[in-house]
């Protein structure tokens, strides 16, 4: 059994299986004189799609980077699944415990084929952060291959010849591929950083459909988004960030009705 499976089993056996996937406590972060994050406290509930919105410069990306372990805050903690500290861990360690992320510009393996792109994350999940497997051959990795094909099916790309080189894909397709790469690892928490940034309407809709579809058993998602259409289509919970602080958290309806939120968006564009 891999470490991750052991942890999940252990958590399920424990009497207080936490409903909180990610707990952010008292996080502050300054860059020079600028206070980018101001006393952030947030709990992300298991199984929800939690959107973080806010005007430009509010600190959304900074918050995401803290959650993923890229940035170390000046104060505060980020706890995963009630036990794992995020801060101070390296990117690969954070992935191995069950968090994965999608980047603003899709980060895929451009010179590899579609299938290889999805097989790598599956391999990585199975092998852990390092495994010197020289004599095993890829041609015998049928289990990994079928996992990859399943993931490609989920995002609707299994009709393509899996020999297509990833660099030749459109941006929308690259984004879908990236999602497949995350999904194949069956993560507990998926962070999406402006997943529809720079996309045309058609691609955006496709992405929304995809996000709605992939309600995999228990997977939690945190989405940073600008596009309100996307947010209100997929989010279960929304947190609004303005000038580094959370000014409101609630269901989409609650947020829509909240006057503070309207104000934060400079005179209140229609939400």
């Amino acid at each position: 059994m891999t470490n991750r499976v052991k942890k999940i089993v252990a958590l399920q056996r424990s009497p207080t299986m936490s409903n909180t996937v990610l707990k952010i406590t008292n996080v502050n972060k300054s860059f020079g004189g600028l206070l980018a994050l101001n006393n952030i406290n947030l709990e992300i509930e298991r199984g929800t799609v939690h959107a973080i919105i806010g005007p430009n410069g509010a600190g959304k990306s900074t918050l995401l980077n803290v959650c993923i372990g890229l940035l170390t805050p000046d104060t505060g903690e980020v706890i995963f699944n009630g036990g794992e500290k995020i801060i101070g861990k390296k990117p690969h360690e954070i992935n191995q415990i069950g968090l994965t992320r999608v980047f603003q510009t899709p980060e895929i393996f451009p010179d590899l084929t579609l299938l290889e792109n999805v097989m790598l994350p599956a391999l990585s999940k199975r092998d852990g952060s390092y495994k010197l497997s020289i004599f095993k051959q890829m041609s015998s990795e049928t289990e990994i291959e079928s996992q990859a094909i399943d993931a490609l099916k989920t995002i609707g790309m299994d009709d393509r010849s899996s020999d297509v080189i990833a660099a030749n894909l459109s941006r929308g397709d690259k984004r879908r591929l990236e999602l497949a790469m995350c999904l194949v690892q069956k993560p507990e928490l998926l962070l999406l950083d402006e997943p529809t940034a720079g996309m045309a309407r058609h691609d955006t809709n496709q992405t929304i459909e995809l996000l709605k579809q992939i309600k995999q058993g228990g997977m939690t998602k945190i989405i940073i988004e600008h596009d309100m259409h996307v947010v209100f289509s997929v989010a279960d919970k929304i947190s609004v960030l303005a000038r580094g602080a959370i000014i409101a958290t609630g269901t989409p309806d609650e947020i829509r009705a909240n006057p503070l939120v309207k104000e934060a968006y400079l005179g209140g564009a229609e939400l």
């Binding site: 390296k90 990117p91 690969h92 990585s124 999940k125 051959q137």
Partner: protein, 381 residues
């Protein structure tokens, strides 16, 4: 993608082994079948495929691999001097020693990536060259190079009474002297074994992860792979291949010199790998074959040969043609090599293998043309 990827490994290995072991036969028509040159082909072949594991798969450009070549040579010669002229201990110790040094250099150099990494390996190469040339002279014998002498202890050999009456003994494999063709066959067997390991690595999950590192190192980390141990492993493995090659150089000619460790010597293997096709399975071997064969021809040409060649022309024509071509042959081989290198990097960075692919797709692959135009259409939706 590799046109040979569909073949199963045993079949490929069989074909490869036959091809290598029969080299004296099929290289004869082009005048490349004498032992010296054949040995060079297989020894540099080992060096190049090992180098490809690092540069081809991960994209990390190291200028320091000549160091491991040198370490392999020196260790082998010391094994001959101290223990026995039998080649087996020599190549084992060399490979291990090169691996250890590669681990040390790799551990430090791989703390950085890209150009910083390359310059670090450059610095290490110069450092080791200088160490070998003038600092560690008790071990390396500096400028003169390390050689066999009559007074070598050769403990094991003397204990087993394997001595010679006069002169220096030659390296041997349990009694078979490693000169000439037998030397070649031994090295060829080593190449076959090395190639088997190399092929396995290429097609293994490990190999695929290395390709992932080259393609997008950031993404590799974010899918949960710790890239550093993979890089160090690739570095050490390629260093060991180089060490083996270095030891085989000493097996066929028991002499080790500092110039083998200069960073410009690393340049030669880089050139071979790139010329053949970096990152492909057969590219490096192709590159070795082409370069060593051309070197053999070009270095041997001198003015009189050129005059003979152009003798069908009138005197003024002959003289001017000789004057034009003379700088590129004989000692001028390096000039030709440099120009060739530049041309490849500028116009065909994927090397000869890329050239093959282009020719193949233009003339033979109507099917792939239709596929690619179809997928292009769907991209534009």
């Amino acid at each position: 993608m590799n046109i040979f990827s569909k073949k199963s490994t045993p079949r490929l290995m069989l074909l490869f082994s036959i091809g290598v072991l029969t080299m004296p036969i099929w290289l004869d028509p082009i005048g490349a079948s004498y032992p010296d040159l054949l040995q060079k082909f297989v020894i540099f072949g080992i060096f190049a495929i090992g180098y490809n594991i690092l540069f081809g798969l991960t994209g990390y450009l190291s200028f320091g691999h000549a160091v491991f070549l040198g370490v392999g040579s020196y260790t082998a010669v010391w094994s001959f001097k101290l223990l026995t002229m039998n080649v087996i201990p020599a190549i084992i110790f060399s490979t291990i020693m090169a691996g250890l040094i590669a681990a040390a250099i790799g551990y430090v150099s791989l703390r950085r990536s890209g150009i910083y990494f390359s310059i670090l390996t450059l610095a290490f190469a110069q450092m080791f060259y200088n160490l070998a040339y003038s600092v560690l002279t008790p071990i390396t014998n500096g400028e003169t190079g390390l050689q066999l002498t009559m007074h070598d202890p050769r403990i094991i050999d003397n204990a087993l009474s394997r001595t010679v009456e006069t002169g220096l003994p030659s390296t041997d494999l349990f009694g078979i002297s490693m000169n000439g063709y037998s030397g070649f066959y031994f090295c060829a067997v080593m190449l076959i074994i090395a190639f088997y390991i190399y092929l396995k690595i290429f097609n293994s999950p490990f190999g695929m992860k290395l390709k992932g590192i080259k393609s997008n190192q950031k993404r590799m980390k974010y899918i949960g792979s710790d890239t550093r141990p993979y890089l160090i492993a690739a570095f050490v493995i390629s260093g060991m291949f180089a060490g083996l090659a270095g030891s085989l150089m000493a097996v066929t000619d028991p002499l080790a010199g500092a110039e083998r460790m200069q960073w410009t010597a690393s340049g030669e293997v880089i050139l071979m790998t790139i010329l053949g096709g970096v990152g492909t399975v057969f590219g490096p071997l192709l590159g070795v074959g082409i370069i060593k064969y051309l070197e053999n021809i070009f270095s041997a040409i001198n003015e009189s040969v050129l005059h003979n060649f152009f003798s069908f022309m009138p005197q003024w024509g002959e003289n001017s043609l000789v004057a034009i071509t003379a700088p590129f042959v004989g000692e001028g081989w390096h000039l030709t090599l440099g120009l060739l290198f530049m041309l490849i990097v500028i116009f065909l960075p994927g090397g000869v293998m890329e050239g093959f692919q282009k020719i193949k797709s233009r003339f033979f692959d109507k099917q792939s043309k239709e596929d690619s135009s179809a997928s292009k259409e769907s991209n534009n939706v």
